[in-house]
Point group: D2
Chain length 411, copies 4
Amino acid sequence: MSKGTVVLAYSGGLDTSCILVWLKEQGFDVITYMANIGQEEDFEAAQKKAESLGAKKVYIEDLRAEFVEDFIWPSVQGNAIYEDRYLLGTAIARPCIARRQVEIARKEGANFVSHGATGKGNDQIRFELTCYALYPEVKIIAPWRIPDFYNRFKGRTDLMEYAQKHGIPVPVTPKAPWSMDANLMHISYESGILENPKSQAPVDLYLMTKSPQDSPNTPDELEIEFKNGVPIMVTNMKEGQSKTSPLDIFSYLNEIGGKHGVGRIDIVENRFIGMKSRGIYETPGGTILLAAHLDIETFTMDKEVRRIKQGLGIKFSELVYNGFWYSPECEFVRHCIAKSQENVEGKVQLSVFKGHIYILGRESPKSLYNEELVSMDVQGDYDPCDASGFIRINAVRLREHNRLQGFSNSN
Amino acid sequence: MSKGTVVLAYSGGLDTSCILVWLKEQGFDVITYMANIGQEEDFEAAQKKAESLGAKKVYIEDLRAEFVEDFIWPSVQGNAIYEDRYLLGTAIARPCIARRQVEIARKEGANFVSHGATGKGNDQIRFELTCYALYPEVKIIAPWRIPDFYNRFKGRTDLMEYAQKHGIPVPVTPKAPWSMDANLMHISYESGILENPKSQAPVDLYLMTKSPQDSPNTPDELEIEFKNGVPIMVTNMKEGQSKTSPLDIFSYLNEIGGKHGVGRIDIVENRFIGMKSRGIYETPGGTILLAAHLDIETFTMDKEVRRIKQGLGIKFSELVYNGFWYSPECEFVRHCIAKSQENVEGKVQLSVFKGHIYILGRESPKSLYNEELVSMDVQGDYDPCDASGFIRINAVRLREHNRLQGFSNSN
Amino acid sequence: MSKGTVVLAYSGGLDTSCILVWLKEQGFDVITYMANIGQEEDFEAAQKKAESLGAKKVYIEDLRAEFVEDFIWPSVQGNAIYEDRYLLGTAIARPCIARRQVEIARKEGANFVSHGATGKGNDQIRFELTCYALYPEVKIIAPWRIPDFYNRFKGRTDLMEYAQKHGIPVPVTPKAPWSMDANLMHISYESGILENPKSQAPVDLYLMTKSPQDSPNTPDELEIEFKNGVPIMVTNMKEGQSKTSPLDIFSYLNEIGGKHGVGRIDIVENRFIGMKSRGIYETPGGTILLAAHLDIETFTMDKEVRRIKQGLGIKFSELVYNGFWYSPECEFVRHCIAKSQENVEGKVQLSVFKGHIYILGRESPKSLYNEELVSMDVQGDYDPCDASGFIRINAVRLREHNRLQGFSNSN
Amino acid sequence: MSKGTVVLAYSGGLDTSCILVWLKEQGFDVITYMANIGQEEDFEAAQKKAESLGAKKVYIEDLRAEFVEDFIWPSVQGNAIYEDRYLLGTAIARPCIARRQVEIARKEGANFVSHGATGKGNDQIRFELTCYALYPEVKIIAPWRIPDFYNRFKGRTDLMEYAQKHGIPVPVTPKAPWSMDANLMHISYESGILENPKSQAPVDLYLMTKSPQDSPNTPDELEIEFKNGVPIMVTNMKEGQSKTSPLDIFSYLNEIGGKHGVGRIDIVENRFIGMKSRGIYETPGGTILLAAHLDIETFTMDKEVRRIKQGLGIKFSELVYNGFWYSPECEFVRHCIAKSQENVEGKVQLSVFKGHIYILGRESPKSLYNEELVSMDVQGDYDPCDASGFIRINAVRLREHNRLQGFSNSN
């Protein structure tokens, strides 16, 4: 008798294929689920593979549009960035994938979900917190944290042997000496030879972006139009070409960014579980959007709102990195951030060239920029004498402090 | 009889030359003071000019080394950046200049200080708050906020006429259609034709950096060594050349950054007085240092310390931008930030190319990175089963929330 | 010819009566406006006085209900408290008063507003920022900042003389040796003999609360019911009496709090303009509500939402204290706080006795408290083994830190 | 052969006595360790009991003075308070106890430590994070999280039976229907009948404080003198009695606070593991100190430093509550807080009466309060005209916002 049904997040690769067979061995019915979030993949082949390995049912879901609209767009609104550098391309994909996995599990009456994430990483947390949040009664099978499993499969060789024994097609090309995770937003590379934080990343590692040394010698110039803090149109200013659907906009920005080598970073970051890890990322479209959104946001948002919103964005980024997309606090923060974006609209012109983005100009019907007010040539509705009082009052406290307690030294 | 002695921050230009003469007209003795903080300037000519215009005494002070050590270095430690983009090159120069001005005023028994900053900008505030903080009894003469002065000098033409009448040498080259402020850290450009936020900055505007389109086709690779969060050596990895004094390090980074077109930004920012203004900045060395420091800091600092310190750094940046370098709170924040840097040491390797900086690797005797612990291939002192408990406990709250209040919707 | 029409915030007292006459002297038409926000006042007498002094029109507006609903309620939601102690009773009254003043000015086509607030205080700022925010073109006449006025009226004697000369009725009772500001939420006392921060406040100063030494020896027990973070009913648990309208609820809490001597504080606070000032406040109803709201909020709100909301509440309090109720950032923060209150509902039982409030219990249909889960006697849906993993993972970082950098010392 | 040596945090009660015997049963040598942190306890009897049950060695350590100086004093400096209400009396005791436990383990060459904390609480985390932080290689035995143990001892009856079988003296008085934790700082009560958040706490529950209804009808008045943000002397202003050592000061404040019923709270709080729990606390001396410290701090600290320090204090409180006293971030925050206290000195006069504390006055050689500056009667070094400019400049942004985006509505 079956122990129950498991919905397995299946990649088509060696690991999750072994997990599929192993779960069946343990007495589970297995439904495989594969999300298309923009990674390069032969989904048809994967489907056949899953079926041939005994999957009771195979789901292949195109989540690209909802990934852009429900996950990338809120991240753009939040200027989401972890530890000042990482644009969270993997972190925002996980709740997107797990959300659908849970929907399938509920629909199929499955009590279990499973995944192939390792026991040291962030992804296990992101998957599972999403599952628990949206399906509190679910039981999660994480083979890489089950001693029976991980003691049996101590390395790739053990998996290969198991695969051969159980008719699992074995990869013919040798594995890259690092691991990789790809989606519409980015590709991340880590582990293997990248674990030495001093070793430079190989030049042929990058798949999504050209090397800036090989990229075109002429910039592309784009105009990105925003409304409510998200892009609604991108136009190539020279070629005149425009994109207007979220998926098209983001894909086009990836294309342009990739062509010009934009968005490569090599960082050491702090995982939620308290380890530092080294990762290489390329996020072409996301990097362009961050630059453009920062610009239009500052142009249209009151400075004090901006300051508060900046703090919320940092909080948002931490929550997302740590796997709390579906949490009351992240839902709250997303709501507040979205509220802050009501007037964030207008157009930003920028140039993309050799790995870098240059803002060229911006305009907006909602701008708080007042050219006359700020002008050095005309006075506008401004009396310079007011500044004297402003400064004097701001100095009240400083002068008192000097008199009564003194500055500890002059630097 | 003299109304007293004024120490005037003198630039040698038309405005402050007119102010010098005007102050004398008003009955003051005028001491001119000119700070060398790395701007291109003919200091000797300026000295002669001031003397010829009747300055009672002329001070020309080389503050470059203290500007780097006392102002740029703490900013590097704090990853100081205003509104996510501006590296504060002007903001940190002001307290450096005003500090010496006040020292001179005290030494000379002058009750007054004066400057040529305009009435709409940030600089007036930064100058004056520093003066009030360090010399609470000082009286400040800001001609551009005095109706008698600004009504008399409504535009450049009025200044020119006054200059001609009073034997002030008049500039022979036409003024650029924007204003500019230069120091060792950066050059800023604003006003004039740049006031239209949509107009693209002219390509020939930049003086400190080459255009990335014209910059070399081969990167330079640098290794920057940090201790206590500040650079103590920079080495050109190909050429083998090293710099070790603060001023030499920073100047060399400017040279390399400038050569490769690094650090150009075009932004709209929020002034302290509540206006939005448009500025173009180029900060070659500072931009390289920010990237390098971020990297070594994350490599060596505990993640939770980093999070708290990040908040302090944002606060620090706001304070500095607004002119509060010399305030009890900024002194407090600088102390805390410096404390956080005690273990921030090690070497960062990076490449500078076509306007962008690429981190290549890093190493440190104080790193909290543990290659074995994070490895995908060996277990290290880590039990993957622990992660299950970690996730389950983190989910307690999320599951309760789902059961009792529910998520408002699925996105 | 008239210089224009001024809407003067009129209190009926000596100062604003002199201002009324002085404004007429200066050539203005004066409309007086008096807000009833719950202070003890003979409004009819004040009306007559204003008319007799030549007010062109007299407005007396009962703002008590909107003061409670639009200003006190959002403060309750935000647990608004300045510098950990002051409940902002004066600060929230100012935008309420000025909002109506501006409405009247617009309706009457008046270009000017005026008030009697002093030049060292917070109130001038709160009034005027509200006016500028809601009526950007308004011109403000603040006589206590106009040299002609304040040099003429250097003390109370000058005002008395002026009053006698101009037929302004002169107060017959001597002025208390402090100043006072009263409204529905609180009474504040400051200046005069209270300016010495060491002098104890006189026992007979308080008007809104009994001395705890003289208050009843038997507590009152109340049940306060909240919805959306604001009270919708208060019931005296012994007497069975209930109140349900906002104004009735708040007035009743004032009555009970006042009877038991609740809400007296003696503090030194930091004014926006950078001075420290000493104030005595009594806020009976507000103090009860703060205690009750804190309790129901923690009972029904997720802990991480609470943490973020706590930060927003502190920000809100600063903004309100400084006079920024009507600012984009305060509007944004109020929106976010209100959002956080959607599930803050339920009943809190409490006892009021001798100056203190004791929470007795609470219940809520929306509580996130799960009695079974937390029980020491039953296991609930909780596996204690999970805690081991949780702790071990939380310790990863601490153990690494000890090994690689060490704690600086053992305390 | 022994499995090794365990240092067991021993209370003398039924639970840890059973654990002692059970650990021996499992093959461990057991050293008991009992910390005197001010709880009422017959330490001699406990020592004999432990010896009679086979403890290899018995440590009884008087940690009261170091508890006050190393843990309570930093909490006073930080105004430490969790979720606006809980003064952290248990949370700060845990690292104090565990620090010594680890010292003993190291000295005795013990690889193991053990404790009797439950699997749902915060204390297990606080104990263990301290142990891991200070002794990273230590192994922790937490019986209440070991299935063999907790399945064997499902309730008190099982423990009683085991006790009888193994010669463990069984308590003769019936257990209170709640659990209790006492130390010098506070007593906490929770679980049992208190688990229903609506049930009122029994009137006879409190051991450290008198009921305000039965407390004296005459206040005590105290003067507390601070230096570096910690009390250095307390004086009873009527009786003239003074205390000057940290332990004496704190004990005396407990005595006075207890006598007047100060510091009782009934709250629902959020545990680190994500549950809400209900607790009753009494913290007499700590509550007085919080009030006094808040007062002297605001009196002597610059307002902007205070604002930053307030945020650090909230962070500190969360860290301490969650068990991170010994963490790099908490060490960092403590350092920063201590830095902020350098000028926090002076005397606060206060009255303690019927459960409440009333600040009466304060004085300080380091105060930033300037009586002349703030006076309503004299002008001091202040020009009221400056306030006009200050307000006008602060309004620039608000007026622009109104013109360009408008306030969403008038409240």
